[in-house]
């Protein structure tokens, strides 16, 4: 159980072109017991940050604290940190039991105690006690399914009794169906163990579903830090806005005129309380999620008027791409409201969910 703090953490990798800054003076506090996501596109520094917390990378400057201790120069084995890798990194020549017992064996824990700890960890992770798990503890990793392998890796990590868990892309090696199941399982496990957990993902849905707080990263910097609700509802900048959400947010360039935003030949009402602060003729970006539109075949005041270009079936809803005077605007409608092809529709963004960005940063 420990808080994690980084102070001005910087990591540069030397290469032929002078050097790549993977972490840029990162200062971050992860609370005790928190389930924390590092989210971002590949190359944003999230994995480097995780590996630096683990001690597998040495920072170029700055410090890492776990609990009370400054562990910046502490070797990985002495940090009280357990890491689960994307490929689970189970030892192929050891049985499940031997794998789970490994951290204890390294520490020289007596055999009987090892056995006890293995059984406890295996029970916690649902590796014993059901028909499908009979004899599982004596198998080799190659004889296990992907989901079982992940649970063995988790059991091995819990057997080490760490004060911090680090997960590298915990769900990306599972197929789609198993992934949802594993996600629920992982969240429950983290709640029960109440161990500070940091995980890396490039999948925004995973981060939103699992984490207590998310750090959205880009180019070695944190672009936004907040709860899933905050990050989803009010992305602090257009980068986060475009990254979060399974259907990407509409980000439409426009200008301010008479307290309204002129976008794609339509006059849209700005978010509440921003009207008077906006400078006339200022260039802005209007952000509106496809889910937050009122769509109607009849004219609506202050709405986009467009024709249906593409309709994509999402199951319970449809994603429509409207052509609004040459600008593409995406909206989601209920399955009952499937429009005719090339139909003309009015789409009114919900005022309380509309966002306004100036110079890439949220202004309202």
């Amino acid at each position: 159980m420990a808080q994690i703090r980084t102070v001005d953490l910087t990591k540069t990798f030397a290469d032929a072109g002078g050097g790549v800054t993977a972490l840029d003076a990162l200062t971050l506090t992860i609370e005790d017991g928190e389930f924390f996501a590092l989210l971002g596109p590949s190359g944003c520094g999230k994995t480097t940050l995780l590996r630096t917390l683990a001690g597998l990378e040495t920072p170029s400057s700055g410090a890492v604290h776990i609990g009370e201790a400054d562990v910046t120069r502490t070797p990985p084995g002495k940090r009280g940190v357990a890491m689960v890798f994307q490929d689970y990194a189970l030892f192929p020549h050891m049985t499940v039991t031997e794998n789970i017992a490994y951290p204890l064996r390294v520490r020289g824990v007596p055999k009987a105690q090892q056995r006890e700890a293995v059984l406890a960890a295996a029970a916690d992770l649902g590796l014993t006690g059901t028909d499908s798990t009979v004899g599982l503890l004596d198998r080799r990793p190659e004889a296990l399914s992907g989901g079982q392998q992940q649970r063995v890796a988790l059991a091995r990590a819990t057997a080490a009794k760490p004060s911090v868990f680090l997960f590298d892309e915990p769900l990306s090696n599972l197929d789609a169906r198993l992934r949802l199941e594993a996600r629920t399982f992982l969240k429950r496990l983290q709640r029960e163990l109440a161990v500070t957990t940091v995980f890396v993902t490039h999948d925004q849905a995973e981060a939103l579903a699992l984490a207590d707080r998310i750090a959205v990263m880009q180019s070695g910097r944190i672009r936004q830090l907040g709860t899933p609700r905050e990050v989803y509802r009010r992305p602090a900048n257009t980068f986060v806005a475009s990254f979060i959400g399974s259907t990407p947010m509409n980000l439409l360039e426009g200008v301010v005129r008479d307290g309204r935003v002129l976008v794609a030949d339509s006059e849209i009402a700005p978010p509440d309380g921003t009207g008077e602060r906006l400078a006339e003729r200022a260039a802005v970006v209007l952000g509106a999620r496809p889910e937050y539109f009122r769509v109607s075949p009849d004219p609506l005041d202050g709405a986009f008027r467009g024709t249906v270009e593409v309709a994509e079936n999402l199951g319970s809803s449809l994603l429509l791409t409207l052509d609004v005077s040459g600008t593409a605007v995406q909206v989601v409608v209920a399955e009952e409201d499937e429009p005719e092809p090339r139909a003309t529709l009015w789409a009114l963004p919900r005022k309380d969910r509309t966002l306004l960005y100036a110079d890439g940063e949220l202004v309202g």
Binding site: A54, L56, A82, F85, A89, Y102, P103, V106, R140, A143
Partner: protein, 310 residues
């Protein structure tokens, strides 16, 4: 030849779709060369071993069959025992311990190294391997020379005749220097196949270097280790280069088997006896190879069994 017409070419007996006649025609030249330069000499050696054939003199013109006498003579010959023992020492110290161990240590230490240091060390080690053996032997003779050798100058031990005072040590060190490159290259390649996440996992749990090697690295490269030991053992067992440095001397003190055969067959002229020793050596080679292959197969067979029985 109906098989050649197989439209999809999936016939397992004829995957290339050539037909028997054409396949035979294509491989015939190679088989002829193998027959002429490999099979025939081997059979000729087998025949020679049962005769009293000599390089010169009466028996060279009229060799006489002596049955198994050559073999019984060799097996009772204390010189042969001595030579065999020296060969075992030579293989054990220079190949199994020297080359394999040093090669692994270099590969392990250079696994994360980048840039000029790695390239320099690899180049130096490789250089020792690719130089022609006559050149290398001359360099070593010059280095070890009693009067003006480099080694004596470096160690301030004027007048020490290394090749005479410590002949076995000299050829052992020489062979380590000469052959380590192969082990290094093979282990370097093998180490790239060890999943970094498994090594990192072991480190995260606090495993020290030895534990990481034991629990992660060696299980992964076991096959490579056995293959490497097999190859370098056989190569060293049959290595003739030491002759160019010590000529088996002084007084047979570094007369390993290939040198012993050379001395017997070509120097003493007893071709029949030499052929018999050659055949014994071949048998020893085969036994060594079989032991290694058995170890390799045990490993693979064992893993297969586990997969079948969950």
């Amino acid at each position: 030849m109906a098989r050649t017409a197989s439209p999809r070419g999936t016939d397992s007996a004829d995957p290339a779709g050539l037909g028997r006649a054409r396949a035979a025609a294509i491989s015939a030249p190679a088989l002829l060369i193998i027959a002429a330069f490999l099979v025939f000499p081997a059979l000729w050696t087998l025949y020679l071993g049962t005769t009293n054939y000599r390089l010169t003199g009466f028996a060279a013109r009229h060799p006489r069959s002596v049955g198994l006498q050559n073999y019984t003579n060799v097996i009772q010959d204390p010189d042969f025992h001595h030579s065999l023992w020296l060969t075992v020492e030579y293989v054990l110290f220079s190949a199994v311990l020297g080359q394999a161990l040093l090669g692994f240590v270099i590969a392990w230490m250079l696994r994360d190294a980048r840039g000029w240091l790695k390239r320099l060390i690899e180049a130096l080690v490789l250089l020792a391997w690719i130089l022609p053996s006559s050149v290398v032997a001359f360099l070593w003779v010059a280095m070890l020379d009693r009067g003006s050798g480099t080694l004596n100058a470096l160690l301030h031990t004027p007048g020490t005749a290394w090749a005479i005072e410590h002949p076995m040590a000299v050829i052992v060190v020489f062979n380590i220097w000469r052959g380590t490159a192969f082990s290094m290259l093979l282990y370097s390649a093998a180490l790239t196949g060890v999943p970094p996440s498994q090594l990192a996992t072991a480190r995260m749990f606090g495993a020290n270097s030895w534990q990481q090697l034991r629990d992660v690295v060696f299980p992964h490269i076991r096959g490579h280790i056995l293959t490497n030991l097999l190859l370098i053992s056989l190569w060293t067992f049959n290595d003739f280069t030491p002759y160019q440095i010590t000529a088996g001397g002084p007084n047979g003190k570094s007369e390993i088997l290939p040198v012993y055969i050379y001395q017997t067959a070509l120097f003493d002229g007893q071709m029949g006896l030499g052929a018999a020793i050659s055949l014994l050596m071949l048998v020893i080679n085969l036994v060594v190879a079989l032991v290694y292959l058995r170890l390799l197969r045990d490993r693979r067979g064992g893993r297969k069994l586990e997969r079948v029985a969950p």
